[in-house]
């Protein structure tokens, strides 16, 4: 038994080591290139410099765009989270024939809307609504695209919360919203955390929607500003791009670590017994 346990531990660490190498190997470039005075598409010991960071700091749009990304991502994440929690709870508790099919169809439609072919209808719609060049417009379009998936994922978590908890809460006279807030949300917390991280990541990397809907460069998020570091002929300025990518990744990783610690994927068994 102890041999088996030991083998298990060794296996775990070997696996973890393998995964680390596999995932970290391509990332090496991101650690060397930003500090290199003349980076190429090659991992090498950098000819150390912080010049790239200074250039970005002086760039009129680079740092501001990270702030814009935070605004757009946080806005989209918040709206998505609230609406998806309400909708998935309702869908989980109300019996409608063909409910799952409907949800899946919505999910498929969302893949059309996030595709390139839909950008024209989206653009004209936003023009009619007067939401061009406003971050709110970007948030709403992105939310529309993310919601079906968010509901789809969350519903599984809602389904697995035992109804007996709600029923006892109801006995004590709690309203539906109170039940949602005090009973269901805590139980579905890992799911909500997943959605939060997922939504931020989707928004963070989205280029097309903000690029098309926003006009002034002061409002553009980092995913769009990333493309300014190419020449007129389309050649990348690897130094600035790698440096900006590094800065670009930090907020998301920080957010993940925060969500992980605070709301955690380490949920142990529902209501404390």
């Amino acid at each position: 038994m102890s041999v088996r346990a030991a083998l298990g531990v060794i296996g775990r660490y070997v696996f973890a080591g393998f995964v680390l190498v596999f995932f970290a190997l391509p990332l090496l470039w991101l650690l060397t290139a930003p500090f290199d005075s003349a980076p190429s598409v090659q991992v090498s010991v950098p000819d150390f410099t912080l010049e790239n960071f200074r250039t970005l700091w002086d760039n009129p749009y680079a740092m501001r765009s990270l702030g814009n990304s935070v605004i757009i991502a946080a806005g989209t994440m918040a709206i998505t989270l609230v609406l998806a929690a309400l909708a998935s709870y309702a869908l989980s508790r109300v019996r409608i024939p063909g409910r799952d099919t409907l949800l899946y169809l919505l999910l498929l439609l969302s893949s059309i809307v996030t595709g390139t072919a839909a950008m024209v209808p989206t653009f004209l719609l936003m023009t009619e609504l007067g939401l061009i060049d406003r971050q709110l417009g970007v948030v709403l379009v992105l939310t529309g695209g993310l919601l079906p998936t968010a509901i789809f994922i969350l519903k599984d978590f809602m389904d697995s919360t035992p109804r007996s908890y709600e029923e006892s809460a109801r006995v004590f006279g709690a309203s539906s919203l109170q039940i949602l807030r005090h009973v269901v949300v805590p139980i579905a917390r890992p799911g909500l955390a997943t959605i939060a991280v997922w939504a931020v990541v989707q928004v963070w990397g989205n280029f097309l929607v903000p690029f098309i809907l926003l006009r002034s460069p002061e409002q553009q998020p980092a995913a769009v500003v990333m493309f300014t570091f190419y020449t007129e002929g389309g050649q990348p300025n690897l130094g600035l791009i790698s440096t900006f990518s590094l800065l670009f990744s930090i907020p998301v990783v920080a957010m993940y670590l925060f969500v992980n610690r605070r709301y955690g994927f380490r949920f142990h068994g529902g209501i404390k017994r």
């Binding site: 973890a16 470039w29 059309i112 072919a117 709403l140």
Partner: protein
């Protein structure tokens, strides 16, 4: 619901309508698009490039998403629970990084790794001059996509595992069940719904994946022109947006078929082993 209706249904329906026209972003067809009925669909289905692309996509989705991302993602979620917290954070962060870095940058990372002349992989393996992206193009983008997308499955399964009542693990442990038995009897019934969700989602997403284009440009000789890349070529580079819209619908129909297969394999039709009510059954 209004948000969904305005920002999802409306553009989606409009896009489907565009799929019935020869509409383009520029040129004469932008001014006066003609209603062409199902011509876009028949054109696509009779285009050998499209059929080739569809076949490549099925291979790509099966290996990179269904096999690669799901299994690796689950294994990570499973193993990470028992790792020391510090190590766990490192592993999860690295996996996450692969997911959050924008595609344009990811392309440079992988070129640095797989480059023929100065690539890290050739340096490590001593296989100087091996053009991985040209000799093993499909394998390369499959591995790339596993690297790129596993984080989502890992997150979802971590959350799913977290919502399995610990008491059940405890019971299994007391009964002396091994890892395999625990997975089969405790974990699987509890997370069946999540597995289905995860598989449906990553399949759909992988059908749309475009990032490999930045690494292989669909080549060599179209050997990595998966559907996402094909649609990009038709809709954006050739500017045939009507055709692009039609292709989106074809892709959705394929996904519907695939989803039906998944439901059969994982869903409500199969009673769970131990007769406990699984989430899927309750829905039916």
């Amino acid at each position: 619901m209004l948000v969904i209706a305005v920002f999802l249904l409306f553009p989606a329906i409009w896009t489907l309508y565009l799929g019935l026209t020869n509409w383009r972003l520029t040129g004469l067809a932008a001014r006066e698009p003609d209603f062409v009925g199902l011509e876009n669909y028949t054109d696509a289905l009779s285009d050998p490039d499209f059929r080739n692309s569809l076949l490549l996509t099925l291979v790509f989705v099966f290996f990179s998403a269904i096999v690669g991302q799901s299994i690796l993602g689950f294994a990570l979620a499973w193993i990470a629970r028992k790792l020391r917290p510090a190590l766990r954070s490192v592993v999860e962060t690295v996996v996450l990084l692969a997911w959050i870095i924008p595609a344009s940058v990811v392309a440079f990372l992988w070129l640095a790794l797989l480059d023929r002349r100065e690539g890290t992989l050739n340096a490590l393996l001593g296989t100087d001059g091996t053009a991985w992206l040209l000799e093993y193009p499909m394998q390369s983008i499959i591995v790339f996509n596993i690297w790129n997308g596993t984080a989502f499955s890992m997150l979802l399964f971590s959350s799913a595992l977290a919502s399995v009542p610990p008491s059940q693990f405890e019971t299994a442990r007391m009964a002396g069940a091994g890892t395999f038995a625990t997975l089969r009897d405790v974990v699987l019934p509890n997370i069946r719904g999540h597995i289905l969700t995860n598989t449906l989602l990553i399949t759909l997403w992988t059908f749309n994946v475009f990032a490999p284009y930045l690494i292989t440009a669909g080549g060599p000789q179209g050997r990595t022109e998966i559907l996402g890349v094909y649609i990009y070529r038709v809709a954006l580079r050739d500017g045939a947006l009507g055709q692009g819209a039609a292709l989106s619908l074809i892709m959705i129909i394929i996904n519907l078929v695939v989803a039906a297969v998944y439901l059969r394999l994982l869903g409500r039709d199969r009673p769970s082993r131990r007769g406990r009510k699984s989430t899927r059954e309750r829905r039916a």
